[in-house]
């Protein structure tokens, strides 16, 4: 039974980690592209 509950929480935990990493990557990319548009010579 604990294996089942552990599996459920593990899947949820992995997804939350992935979604957090994706958010960080998107924010960095957004900042980079914003800077690129604001200062096109760089």
């Amino acid at each position: 039974m604990l294996l089942g509950l552990g599996a459920a929480w593990l899947i949820m935990f992995i997804y939350v980690i992935l979604i957090t990493l994706r958010e960080r990557k998107l924010r960095k990319e957004l900042d980079r592209v914003r800077r690129m548009v604001e200062h096109p010579q760089k």
Binding site: G4, L5, Y15, E23, E29, V33
Partner: protein, 227 residues
């Protein structure tokens, strides 16, 4: 405002889940034939219900996109479908662990299990398709078609335990005329469903914000190329 809703929902869901876990582990007796392992049902059933509802909702949002060509429908459909796939994964994993204990095998190729696995693969393909197509309208159109096809399969999977004799147990919930559980044992399934639904709402809200970031990045890139 969005942050406050997310924090409020997270606190409510965590509290409800903690209270419900206490009920499941300390307040309920073991099942007569299965023993303690039956408690997996308290995650297996809510996860699969949310998976099916998510795929269904994704289908309606995809149809909304096809009718209006509004990409916000597509963004919401993608967010809901991705979270639904996570819940479907939890449903498959917990079901497989239960089957190993009760049936003695990890997997059986019966109609319910197979159709749900096919559904999981279709929606996994849906997410891969979205990564493979760059043009937003084309991506939304292709994804909408896959979502509709996948949701038909999800409905077949939902009804399969009524339409065919399956190794998978027949309906147990009272709303499906199952009547296979005592009222006190069924209630925690609904409370867990509510808690997990709150978590899924949080995840969809976060995913929607990411879709909005992705759209903004796309727009800015086009502007940068046009300069």
């Amino acid at each position: 405002m969005r942050e406050k809703i997310i924090i409020g929902l997270a606190i409510f869901a965590a509290g409800l889940l903690a209270w419900n876990m206490n009920t499941i582990f300390t307040g309920l007796p073991d099942e007569l034939n299965q023993g303690a392992i039956y408690r997996i049902i308290y995650f297996h059933v809510p996860a699969n219900i949310l998976g099916m509802l998510g795929f269904g909702l994704g289908m309606f949002l995809s149809i909304g996109y096809l009718v209006t060509k509004d990409l916000r429908y597509d963004a919401l459909a993608a967010s809901v479908t991705e979270v639904a796939l996570v819940y479907a994964s939890i449903g498959l994993a917990t079901g497989s662990i239960w089957a190993r204990i009760i049936w003695g095998v990890w997997w059986a190729w019966d109609v319910r299990l197979t159709s749900w696995l096919v559904c999981w693969l279709i929606f996994g393909g849906y997410l891969m398709l979205r990564r493979a197509v760059d043009e937003p309208n084309q991506r939304a159109r292709f994804a909408a078609v896959v979502s509709v096809l996948g949701s038909v399969n999800a409905y077949i999977s939902y009804k399969s335990i009524e339409w065919w004799n399956t190794q998978h147990p027949q309906p147990v919930l009272s709303i499906r005329n199952g009547g296979g559980m005592a009222a006190g044992m069924e209630a925690p399934i609904w409370w867990n469903l509510l808690a997990l639904a709150c978590f899924s709402t949080i995840l969809v809200m976060v995913r929607m914000r990411q879709e909005s970031f992705a759209r903004e990045i796309d727009t800015l890139r086009r502007m940068a190329h046009a300069q």
